[in-house]
Amino acid sequence: MFKYICKRIVYLLITLLIIVTTTFFLMKKLPGTPFDAERFSLLSAAQQAQFLEKYGLNDPVIVQYGKYIGNVFRGDFGTSFFYTGQPVSGVILGRIGPSALIGVQAILIGLSIGLILGIIAAWRHNSGIDYFTMVVAVLGVSVPNFVAAALLQYYVGLKWGVLPVAFWQSWKSSVLPSIALSFGVTAMIARFMRTEMLDVLEQDYIITAKAKGLNQFKVLMRHAVRNSIIPVVTILGPIVVNLLTGSLAVENIYSIPGIGSLFVDSIKTNDYSTIMGITIFYSAFYIFVVMVVDILYSVIDPRIRLASGGKGE
């Protein structure tokens, strides 16, 4: 297992380098500059020169790339153009917390409700609860999370006054955005779990287990659920990354200083150093999550042997 993880980390670094390189050169092809053209034109020639020099934009792109990679290895991600002078690492670190908290909470809510709904739906196939679950699943997937966010804000926040309408002030502020984000997760998990469970419940070993005289609950939990959960773990990886990166609309609606809005803004304003910083963070995170998911497979299903050449992907 240790050897396997080491190998994966090496792959992770190589993949990362490729992503960083591609992004760096693509980014330089973005139209415009990090500066407001009108303001920049108001700078004197000497000011412009000093400004470009400070950000190293005078050099050829390839030299800029070399310097950038060098700095990254020293742990220096540069300073933001948009937030003049603020170190990129600080800007990103300050924004990860809120996104991570609402993301993780949304997954916990979505995972627990989704699993329960999926299991019950499969167990009571073609019953009322099964239909209910499927309606929830369809709604959860088709209603965009920002609609849910706006509705929750209006009713729970404003009309009922139970939770804060917006802002990021205490843990309470994170509840509504987490719920808004969790709908999609619930729906997806419930559907996957149900389908997989139905399949597993048909298997011979379930019949055997039942024949052995195990009670219903034990059959369900020990044999059916564990074998159905692998596909759920597979989709969990992308879901985790998605929630951390794709919650822009929800962040804006609840005025949360999260990383989703930072990413979009940095691209809109050509904030090169922030774009690169977030790219590195996102890709490292994504690759890491994929790795964790692979390791989880072996934990859940011992038949998947990672160390002995299994790729797990």
Binding site: P31, F82, T84, G85, Q105, V165, S170
Partner: protein, 548 residues
């Protein structure tokens, strides 16, 4: 079961990790300011706190890098210039108690108040102004506002180009309390410039001790304004606390101010309704429903949206065509019905309320030089078409934001209704639109200019250099009027030059056709009084506000 427990454990652990670094803005350092906000139901405005918001991040607190209104809002309230705008938007003595101007109007001598102090206890002296102004005129300044000093101050431009030494620049501390400024030409509005953030003082010793960290966090700054910065987070906002060492602290009534960042209009409105905000700006669509509310008010800014004609383009190089297009737009309907957000119909290039002669505004003195007249429009159009030989096909270049698109569609309708012509709309992103204009690749465009300072010159000298962006306008009459205004020592004659210049540009040569002055409609909680919004420069002023 054991294995799924493990899964749960991993998730739980990651959650703990996440929570430990989630950075709620309401915790730790700003607990005092946001604490009361969490008592549900009650408006936080009742306990000495005003909460406002901005729609964009606060980009920087470094004044020689700041160029956006959100940064200006904070800077203006935590710092101060020689003068400060009062509730009527006129400059009144602030860190300076008075000034004298020489007979040739070229030397200003400001006297500072007694006992001025920075928030860390250091004495604030005339040297702090010299340091800060030289910084703004150096290559370190990245806000693009060096011109606002180098255009006026002796040897400022030379200093910026490294052709003059600091001691040759026309800003000197004669002693701790006396600041002498030497100007290149008479500038009747110079005192009105000193209210702007670029002119605020900076303590050399402190700024140098902070190095690259200066202004990055609230604790990396010292303050001399009505407030100090308690917390500063570009993305979630700032909290301000009353500055007890401020010279006029006795007259600052509100002790806490929050400036939040809210990007969604609907969120701001919900937050306002739930008592989380003291004021909310309304979108056009919300105005009709709220107009009758006692909390409703509106104001217009020194910002003119206008049609820029490109004289290098054959079709609109014909003056009659330009006049026709100008007369064809009903601006009152545009501002009051279509925009309905507090915007005011334009009657000239210089916005309502801008400085004139001290008793009357510039607009009041020059009258309505932009009017709507469908009959005249038709008449000029026919003349123009005859001169051109055929009716030109026209395209209107515009930005792709919703307000500008609405305006462009309305204008298109007016051209159809009053001239019977079909004008195409070319809507582009801001960057792309500006690029097309710079490249001389447009016929006419909807564009805008906001005043940097309270004098007509902030608009008028834009059209003296004949760039494609300004429609390739080259007029000796106009240029000589502006040149004369710039060196004129007689204020009355200078004003006359400016008034004539506006008429030349707008009604005689019809190079631009003003449309409206941008406005804001907002709701303010009844408990909040005197929360002043200035029409230019630093927008919101907390100093005069009070709570009932």
């Amino acid at each position: 079961m054991k294995k799924s427990k493990l899964l749960a454990l991993i998730l739980a652990a990651s959650m703990v990790l996440a929570t430990s670094g989630c950075g709620f803005t309401g915790t730790a350092s700003s607990a005092a300011a946001s604490g009361p906000a969490q008592s549900e139901g009650t408006a936080k405005t009742s306990d000495g706190t005003i909460t406002v918001y901005d729609t964009n991040e606060i980009r920087t607190m470094v004044q020689w890098a700041a160029s956006d209104n959100n940064s200006f809002t904070i800077l203006n309230n935590v710092s101060e210039g020689l003068y400060r705008l009062n509730e009527k938007h006129e400059p009144e003595p602030a860190l300076a108690e008075s000034y004298k101007v020489s007979d040739d109007k070229l030397t200003y001598t400001f006297t500072l108040r007694d006992g001025l102090k920075w928030s860390n206890g250091t004495a604030l002296t005339a040297k702090d102004f010299v340091f800060s102004w030289l910084k703004q005129m150096s290559t370190d300044a990245t806000n693009g506002y060096s011109f606002i000093m180098t255009d006026y101050i002796v040897n400022g431009a030379e200093y910026l180009d490294n052709k003059a030494k600091a001691e040759d620049v026309g800003v000197k501390a004669l002693d701790d309390k006396t600041l002498e400024v030497k100007l290149k030409q008479p500038t009747p509005y110079f005192v009105r410039l000193t209210v702007l953030p670029m002119f605020f003082p900076l303590n050399e010793e402190y700024v140098k001790s902070q190095g690259a960290n200066y202004g990055l966090k609230a604790e990396n700054m010292i303050y001399c304004g009505p407030y100090t910065l308690a917390t500063y987070d570009p993305a979630s906002g700032s909290t301000l606390k009353k500055n007890d060492s401020y010279w006029d602290a006795a007259n600052v009534k509100v002790s806490n101010v929050n400036v939040r960042i809210i990007k969604e209009q609907a969120t701001a409105l919900n937050a306002y309704k739930s008592g989380e905000l003291s004021r909310v700006t309304l979108s056009s669509s919300d105005v009709p429903a709220m107009k009758s509310s006692a909390e409703f008010s509106s104001t217009s800014e020194f910002r003119t949206n206008y049609l820029q004609f490109n004289l290098a383009n054959k079709a609109v190089s014909n003056k009659n065509i330009r006049l026709a297009l100008g007369y064809a737009v009903d601006r009152a309907t545009l501002a009051d019905v279509v925009l309905a957000d507090g915007s005011a119909p334009a009657t000239g290039l210089i916005a309502n309320g801008m400085y004139g002669d001290g008793t009357k505004s510039f607009r009041g003195l020059n009258g309505d030089i932009t009017t709507f007249d469908a009959a005249k429009a038709k008449e000029y159009w026919e003349k123009g078409v005859k001169e051109l030989g055929s009716a030109p096909s026209l395209t209107l270049l515009t930005e792709d934001d919703s307000v500008t698109k609405t305006v462009a569609t309305y204008i298109q309708g007016e051209f159809k209704k009053n001239l019977g012509i079909d004008v195409k709309i070319d809507s582009k992103t801001k960057k792309a639109k500006n690029q097309l204009m710079d490249d001389n690749n447009y016929q006419m465009a909807v564009t805008a200019w906001g005043a940097d300072y309270d004098d007509a010159m902030t608009y008028m000298d834009l059209w003296t250099n004949g760039t494609p962006y300004r429609g390739n306008y080259k007029s000796d009459t106009y240029n000589s009027l502006i040149a004369d205004a710039k060196k004129q020592t007689d204020d009355a004659k200078r004003l006359q030059d400016m008034l004539s210049a506006e008429k030349t540009l707008v009604s005689e040569d019809a190079v631009v056709s003003p449309l409206f002055y941008r406005g804001f409609a907002y709701l303010t909680k009844p408990s909040v009084e005197n929360l002043v919004t200035h029409p230019f420069g630093p927008p919101i002023e907390f100093k005069y506000a009070s709570l009932k």
